[in-house]
Each structure stands twice: as C-alpha cells, then as structure tokens.
Amino acid sequence: MNNQENIVGQKSNALAKAGIYIVLGLLTVVIVIPVAWVFMASVKQNSEFYGNPFALPQGIHLQNFVDAWTTARMGDYFMTSILVTAMALLVLLVVSLPAAYVLSRYKFMGSRLLNTGFMAGLFINVSYIVVPVFLMFVSGDKLLNSMFGHSFFLNNPFMVAVVLASTSLPFTIYLLSGYLATLPKDYEEAAYVDGAGYFTTMVRIILPMAKPSIITVILFQFLAYWNEYIISMTMLTDPNGARTLPVGLLNLMKAQNAKAEYGQMYAGLVLVMLPTLVLYMCVQKQLTEGMTLGGLKG
C-alpha cells in the first residue's frame, strides 16, 4: 500500500519536473531566438528579407557591416559612444567617490542635509528634466554666441557625458556610501597616527578597500551610459554632427522604413549589442550579485 503511494508520488514528481523544464525551456527560447535572429539577419542580403524570416542566410554577407560602419556612419557613432561612456564614467567616479567617502564617514555642518538631499535625488527621473536641461543649454549657447561667436553646450559629447554623470550621482553616492559606511573607523585613525593627510588616507587606504563597490558602479553605469538614448538624442541635435550609437540606430530604423536597408540596420544592432553582451558574459556573476548589493535601481 505504502509502496504504491510512493510510486504514484514519484510519477507525479517526474511529471512536475518535466513541466518545469518545459516552462524554463520556453522562456529560454523566447529570449534567445529574437537575439540570435538579429545576428543571423545581420549577415543576410537585402533581398533575403522579403520572404520567410526564419530562413537561414544564403551566405555570410559581411558587406552589411562595412556599409553600416561607413555609409550609415555607425563607425563615427561607435567612437562617439565610447567617448561619451568613458568620459561620463570618469566624471562620475572622480566626483562621486570623494563625496560618498566624506558623506558616509564625516560629520560636519550640513552633512545631514546633504545626505538627505542626495537621497531625495534618487526620485528625480531623467525623463522629467531632460527638456529643462536642454533649454538651459539653448540659452547658455545663445549667451556664448553673442559673446564669443560660437556655442559650446549643445552638440557637445562632453556635455552629454557631464549630464549623464550628474544625473546618476544620487544612485552612485547612495550605493558607494552604503558600502563605505561598513568599513571600520580604525583604518583612518591608524593612518592619521602615521602622519598621513586626509587626501592621502582617502586615496591610499579607503578607496582600495572600496574596490568591489566601485566595480559594481562601473559595470552598471557602463551599461546604462552605453544604452542610454533620451539624453543624447535631445542634446545632440545636429544631423551631421556627433551621435551615440543608439541614437544613430534609431535614425536608421526610421530611415529604414523608407529605404529598406535592412542589412545595415541589423548590422548596426549587432554593433550596439555586442559590447554589452561580451561584457555580460565575462562578468555576469558580479553583475547579478552587485545588483542585490546595491539594492534597487529606479
């Protein structure tokens, strides 16, 4: 009797297991197929897009990448994206690290106010303020134009980087100071006894210990900056000027409706995706662990 129940139990268990694998497999397919399909489509010839979309490419048509890189200016955009991402990361780290260090480990007049202020900043969403920032740049350029005869703020990748870095300050400071606050105070005291100044203590002693949280910040913000498009689309308005990859791709998508340059577009998509996918494959563990370390992002 007991034995029979056991067998029934095992059977339903095996059935449940099979069901679970089917569900997991389904979601895997739903996620992997579209991404893989883009890679396949990027080596198809234009004529192949009028037919069964699941057909394998007739050959490896790498000309798409050449066309995308030169004709569609994806090469320029790629460089701009690298430039903007690198500069934004640099500005962010240089500005946020000292601030997070002082805010988490020093008490001074106004420290509570500043801490609360940066916490409140977590709730300011970029999408709300992108047009005000744009208009600020418009009037700034007007002023510069009347004084020096050329503009500076709009269509300037560096300013895009500064805006990107500034808008991610609250989250970064929150994440870093959360980590820095857990380090014991003894380190600084020992450093002072040895005669190290404040600056030396921060750079030589504390920041090396904050490395895990700094890496988390770099990983997350690299992805965020590389993928971002609302700010760069609004601030880089000159059609012949600098553009980041996502913005260039967006324009290609719109042009593609009229001209049907599918191959170029999918090649461009691969160019945007590839760096993030490669990075993800290398650091996926740190990334998903860092996510829970930093709590939520907005």
Binding site: K17, I20, V23, L24, L27, T28, I31, V32, P34, V35, W37, G51, P53, F54, V95, P98, A99, Y101, V102, Y106, L114, G117, F118, F123, N125, S127, Y128, I129, V131, P132, L135, M136, V162, V163, A165, L169, P170, G197, Y198, F199, M202, W226, N227, E228, Y229, I230, P246, L249, M253, M265, L269, T276, L277, Y280, Q284, L287, T288, T292, L296, G298
Partner: protein, 296 residues
C-alpha cells in the same frame, strides 16, 4: 585649530563638485519643471507669460492627455502584474527545485536587461512586422497568411504588443531580485513543510510569499515609478505614440508638448501632474500592500 581648518578644506573639496553638479543638473531643472508649468512659453522666444494655473485647466480638458493617461495606467497595471507573477514563478523554480543548468537559465533570463531599449524596440519591430515579421510567419501556419495581424499598426492591438515587449525586458531583472531574497529563507522551513506533506504550491503561498513580502512591496513601488519611465523609452523608440495616439503615454506626451510641439509651459504642466500622480500611486500601493512583517 590648524587640523580643523585642513579638515574643513578637505570636506569642502570633496563634497563641492558633486553638490554643484547636482544643483545645476538636478535641482534647478526640477525646480524649473514646477515653475514653468505656470507660464505660457514656447521655449525659444524671449517672452514668457505668467498664466497661473491655466495650463492645468487646459490639461484637464485635453482629450489627448486622457488617452495618454489611459494607456499609461493600462501599461502600469498589466506590465507590473504580469512581470511580477512571472518573475516570482521563475525565481521560485530556480531557487526551490533541483534543476540542472540553474545558473545557465539565470544568465539567459537576465540578458534582456543589458540590452538598450533601442535594440529591444528594433528586435520587436522585426518580430511584429506585418508582412515579414517573425510572429506573423509563425501564426501563418495556423491561420493562413491572407490577413496578417498588424501588431504595431492596429490601434486596438498595439498597446498589448508594447506590454509583451516590456514584460520581456523586465522579467529577468526582477527574477534575480527575488531569487536573492528567496535564497535567504532557511531551508529548515521547507523541510518541515515537506514532512507535513505540504505541496509545492502550498509551500510557495504559505512560506515563500509571506517571507519575501517586504521585498515584493519595495519592488512594486519602484516598478510603478520606473514603468512610467520605461514606457516612455519604449514608445519613443518603437511607435512614436502612434498610430493616432494609441500608444501615447504620460512622458511621451510631455516630451512631445515640451520639445517637439514647442509648448514648453504646457509640457511642464503635464510633467507636474505625472510626477504627482506617480508618487501618489506609489504611496497608495505601499499603504495597501502593508502587512505585518514576518521574521524567519
């Protein structure tokens, strides 16, 4: 005394750059959103005219704005509910069941989260393409290819096409989130439940869910706020609000008014209403979902 001076100098030097940048690029623009909502201003012309609450009065009679509200609320509700349910289900499966390749599934499910919204929009445009799209070519097997579904062209369908794309993007992120909190539930609770003969689903509803409830609440609040932003990014890249306003959402409408349409003051009024609405909604959800916190 000398040490004190050096200390203050160090503090100021460290904090000042961040504070200045935050004031210029966060505080002043936010302040401007609220201030300019009371003005009639094109954005480029020098004449700004103070109109009080006129922008808001116009707004509450604006049919297009109400359509944007409807779409936004629909997206908030459906995308949030579907994503969180799926994320919980998959998180429970991957943490509770003994599965081969658990790590592989986690890595794959997180992939959409690292892609740009522009990329995802392009992928889904290819999937939804009426003539040569992936979805219609699959459906073609079952219902013939004579009358394709216009996933992005049909006003009644397009919003659900957006829902699918947004859920696709968000599941992995929230799944990883829930997996972390589920992993911290002590194994002994499940062992004793097994001895009592509680089924898998019973264990999920009586042990897992109540114990990670605090986490679900936090994600829910954040989800609502981030969904308003994400729907803007998706709409801007995928449909541009069309066809005929069928996918216009809160922030895409604001952007259109302030930037494209050059009715800046009006756009900022939209921003103020949306901002207030999102926080009110988050607060209400936070209140409604409040339960007594359970400890392990």
């Amino acid at each position: 005394m000398k040490k004190n001076k050096a200390r203050s100098r160090f503090i100021v030097a460290c904090v000042a750059p961040a504070t200045i940048l935050a004031i210029i690029f966060l505080v002043i623009p936010t302040f401007n959103v609220f201030r300019m909502s009371l003005f009639r201003w094109g954005g480029y012309s020098p004449n700004q005219e103070f109109v009080g609450f006129n922008n808001f009065i116009t707004l509450f009679k604006d049919k297009n704005f109400f359509q944007a509200c409807r779409n936004s609320i629909l997206l908030i509700v459906t995308v949030t509910v579907i994503t969180i349910c799926f994320a919980l289900l998959f998180a429970a499966i991957l943490t509770r069941e003994k599965i081969k390749g658990q790590n592989f599934f986690r890595v794959v499910f997180y992939i959409p989260n690292i892609l740009s919204v522009v990329v995802i929009s392009a992928i889904f445009s290819a999937i939804y393409d009426a003539n040569y799209g992936l979805l219609n070519s699959i459906l073609g097997f079952f219902r013939g290819e004579a009358d394709p579904v216009y996933w992005l062209g049909d006003q009644k369908v397009v919003i659900y096409s957006l829902v699918i794309a947004m859920v696709w993007q968000a599941i992995g992120y929230y799944m990883v989130m829930y997996m972390a909190s589920m992993a911290s539930i002590p194994e002994s609770l499940y062992e004793s439940a097994n001895l009592e003969g509680a089924s898998r689903s019973r264990q999920f509803f009586s042990i897992t869910l109540p114990l990670i409830w605090t986490n679900i609440r936090t994600t829910l609040t954040f989800f609502i706020i981030s969904n308003i932003n994400m729907s803007f990014l998706f709409v801007k890249a995928m449909t541009g609000g069309g066809p005929d306003g069928a996918t216009e959402v809160f922030l895409s409408y604001m952007y259109k008014q302030a930037y494209t349409n050059s009715t800046y003051g009006y756009g900022m009024a939209v921003g103020v209403v949306v901002f207030t609405f999102s926080f009110a909604l988050a607060a209400v959800v936070n209140k409604v979902t409040k339960r007594e916190a359970l400890e392990f």
